[in-house]
Amino acid sequence: MPHDHDDHHHDNELDPMAARVRALETILTEKGLIDPQAIDVIVDTYETKVGPRNGAKVVAKAWSDPEYADWLKRDATAAIESLSYTGRQGEHMQAVFNTPDTHNLVVCTLCSCYPWSVLGLPPVWYKSPPYRSKAVIDPRGVLVEFDLFLPDTTRIRVWDSTAELRYLVVPMRPEGSEGLSEEQLARLVTRDSMIGTGLALAPEAA
């Protein structure tokens, strides 16, 4: 990633944070603890290669293939790894399935643990203190902020992620999606629907 500072017209300036990061990189490289090229690869991976499209493929496969859905329910870590989406932090995955009776919502009250391998890095709101604190206390109120209004009869279950265990919500398959291919189904699966702050799109909206 380039270090552009085009807003300064005369001398180059490094802002304090950028300078501290450079200092850390220098020290860690000199001590042989990191390799600058490996750092670039990690950045590129998370900026361009890993994202919610991975999770959408997992969900679409679960919708289309009952055996896969069953495997995902029993051992999400292995079922997800079978699609080559592997967590780097050795975390376990659990898939939680939405039903008409139960809607699942994922948060990390501790920091921002998130299923990177299937969703990429979290959106800003996921990391924000209001979401992290309110999701547990008032999940229904949080969903209203997302314009998601669930029937009173639907129970909301909140899953608090940890460093060891991350959750993937499997949204309900939308009505009218019968006969769609896995690829078409995957397009209905939004990032928010896999966190539980949204639903899968209706086929006509995708």
């Binding site: 180059n12 850390l24 990191i34 750092i39 990690i42 950045v43 990391k127």
Partner: protein, 120 residues
Amino acid sequence: MSLRELITHSRGLPASGDGPVFAEPWQAEAFAMAVALHDRGLFTWEEWAATLSGKLKHPGALDDASDYYSCWLEALESLIASKNVADSHDIDQLAAAWQRAAHATPHGQPIRLENDPDRS
């Protein structure tokens, strides 16, 4: 910024729906360094999450999470210090050297630590 404003903002981002992952290059580098050091076994991810959580809980944490990667960097520095790799004094000194080097580098040229005029 309220939660709703944050959500609206994230929806207004490019059509990929994912939005830019990092606001500034240093955030990406700080992120990647933590991942790389964990890969190398300098700390466990549990240690990382506990340290980051401690930094995120600071009084005055911003509701819009714009201080998230500052906390991330603090957590990284703190773990690096506790593993006796480098303390904050080392980092302060070298960060100042990088800033002097940047200042001494003509615009348009890559900044190199060797450009620090005070370099001994």
